[in-house]
Amino acid sequence: MSTVNEAGSAPAVRQKRQSLWVAVLHTGEGMIGVTLGIGMVLLIILGRFFGPSTDYNVGLPGSGSSAEHWFGTDTLGRDILSRFLHGGDTVLLIPLIAVTLALIIGGTLGLFGAYWGGWPDVVISKVFDVILTLPPLLIVLVIIGGLGASNTVLIITVALVYAPGLGRVVRGTAQSVMVNPYVLSAQARGESDLAIIFREVLPNVSGPVLAEFGLRLTYAILFVATLSFLGLGVQPPAPDWGLMVAENRGLITVAPWGTMLPALGITLLAVAFNLTADAISRVLAGDELSRLAVI
């Protein structure tokens, strides 16, 4: 269908609206990040169906690579490859759920703080600031020390650690969106607060927030792995990658794969999300320049 321009003149070439993900895939790091990310997620979800079962595949503790155990066995003689293939889900899911929860809590507070301004904004910001001054490990130690270690506690704790950072990003972005005349225009129409927040503000903060989300997810993956390594996160006998590094580090000279393989998995997962987050921020930064709209 041809476009009829006013006065029938030749339409000037304008930037076509392009999907964020298409643009992200066109950047080098976006392509690598997204491909690697999909690969890792597939490995975590489907790996268990291809690898040998964890339960019955027990050999000599701390043995190196062999035909039966490709990547050797751990301290208790369990097959490292099969534990690796089964152990990725907590590494991915706990940070994912935790950071999503952080976004919901922090983002909502940040959004309303930015919208209302005044004292609610001051209170919300100060609470964020106070949490940000506390060392994350200290928060985790106190909460897990008090409530005991379980996946639920872990998720809530990590969410609490990451909520202020995400909240601040949402608040900052929303504040810059709030001053746009399209928001003023909605106010002049007499729209309700919720209508303005959901129709006018929220869609326009999602881009930068997505980039921040990807970055925080990277941190959270490393953080949860660290916690598991320290014994505060996922508890034995679960085949978690962070936990595996901790359990097998004594055997690093004899059966190096016990630490190397899960460490590699954590690294690749973190790198994948980090590259994707970088690509998103880069696309959005270019977007600012070219005024190219992004879905």
Binding site: A12, R17, S185
Partner: protein
Amino acid sequence: MSTAVMKNGSACRGGTSEPGVSVTDAAALVVEGLSVGYHQKDGGVLCVAHDVDLRLYPGKVVGLAGESGCGKSTAALAAVGYRHPGGVIMSGRSLLGDTDLLQMDPADLRRLWGGQVAYISQNAATSLNPALTIGRHFDEVLRRHADMHGAAAAARQLELLGAVKLPDPKGALDRYPHQLSGGQQQRVALALAFACKPSVLILDEPTTGLDVTTQTHITALLQELIAETQVAVMYVSHDLALLSTVSQDIAVMYAGEMVERGPVKELIAEPLHPYTNALLRAVPSARARQTIAGIAGEPPVSVAADHCAFAPRCPHAQERCRTEHPDSRELRPGRSARCLRVEELHGALRIVVTHDGYESPAAAAAGESTGHFLEVKDISCYYGSRHKRVAAVRDVSFTLGEAEVLGIVGLSGSGKSTLLRSIVGILPDYTGTVSLRGQELARNARKRPRALRRQVQIVFQDPASSLNPRHTVEQIIARAVHLFREDVARGKTSEAVAELLEGVKLSRSFLGRYPSELSGGQQQRVAIARAFAARPSLLLCDEVTSALDVSVAATIIELLRDLTSSSATAVLFVSHDLAVVRTIADRAIVMRDGLICEQGSTEQLFCAPEHPYTVELLSSIPDIADVRAGRTVEAGVAPVC
């Protein structure tokens, strides 16, 4: 190699100049056949400036005019050897004395720029390094280009800052750019440009971001400096009124080509090219209410090789204009135009100023007073928190008749936009009352009954940010229809939106587009359609044409005039542009620092101003009518209408 010799100003002709072309006439810069392109993603080169010829003479100003996107800045910068990232110079030469700037290597060019060739950009704030003091800026320039150090350099700095009339030059040297006002920053930029006695100066909209009165001061200063230093100047601007007052010659660019050039007075009285004619017809004047006509459509992004680029928008286009590319034709010495029909059209394009028959319904019904439709009484509007409250508007009162168009003029910071925001109910911190047909309006829009809210609509200055980038044109307008139009059934919204678009002369195909896919003019039309979706009885326009090109602004003014007079909508039209206000408003208010200085009919206010501030404003804005009539306007003296 040869450039090194030429740089020293020796008489060596180098290998670049062709025989038969005189380079010994007085021109400081001779640009011939300059073509510039940009590398494309697909490996090709998109030509954005083609076959540009220009001569700059010492002490003279050549104005480069045209709509944005016509290659003015690209051509001006390429003429002194600068290429934007991705830009390539495809052909041509640019002789500064005997040196071809286009053949010079980057290191030699850098030695030239800032010294012999100076450039001033639109935004002084970004052309000064925020981390360096003003003094450091001068140190750098003087050391690099004039080899001046220590006491000599210090003395020269003070001399320069004195020459640009910066208050307290000594103190300014230790200040940082952000500690100066916009006008002062531009003065510093001027002083820097003139620091090494340049022979060529490129000005790219140097006063566009400034307030009108500051603009006049900077322009006057510029003219003084040009006369004193005899620098050859290329002045790039879209503002024909301004160019006609500062330059001796004007060159008009369209789609990367120079379509016409000639001496100012001849060109603005009798343009040879239909594009120049159209541009001039879009320029409003504060001296008389005259008919203005915009140019529909937009300029193409690149040079047209096989047809006249202006043909699609040209009222005089014929079949051959669409199949043949015009060369520049000289009608008589000094006057040439790139138009196939230049001889035939000669005389037909003369600018005839038509005094306007336009009247708003209110003015037409003058005599029988329509009563006070809108009454604003003792309104003071405040910004800031409870502790640091600043009054942006103080004790302002005025009334507006039914369907009357009232202009509010003033500089930035005069409180005119604040006033509109309080009236529409988005800046509720005010004292005093606003009543519509005798009914007092609640301070906050949300507390007003829907029927009242519907009646007051607002259109903002920046069209790009007044539309939500995540909503389609249809969604944007449909929202207002949903809220305010009970007569439109739910299923018929799309139909109603299409009708509204038609009202602002946009086709149905715009329904599914996002704001980023529209031009500035189209975005503003959508914003106007959104306001008219509510069928308002009062429309508030906040600088609605300020972000647009003159040609586009004229189409918006035409549209607003049509829509408001056909629907008998009253308008509060806020603008810093007196000429635009003259064109659209029946009455006007002059505001300064939150107070009303003077109010009256536009006729009276613009032709017989009483308040000295009104006189100052009127005399500081360059007006094309003055140039046409050969009048010079003195600062502080009320101009003749």
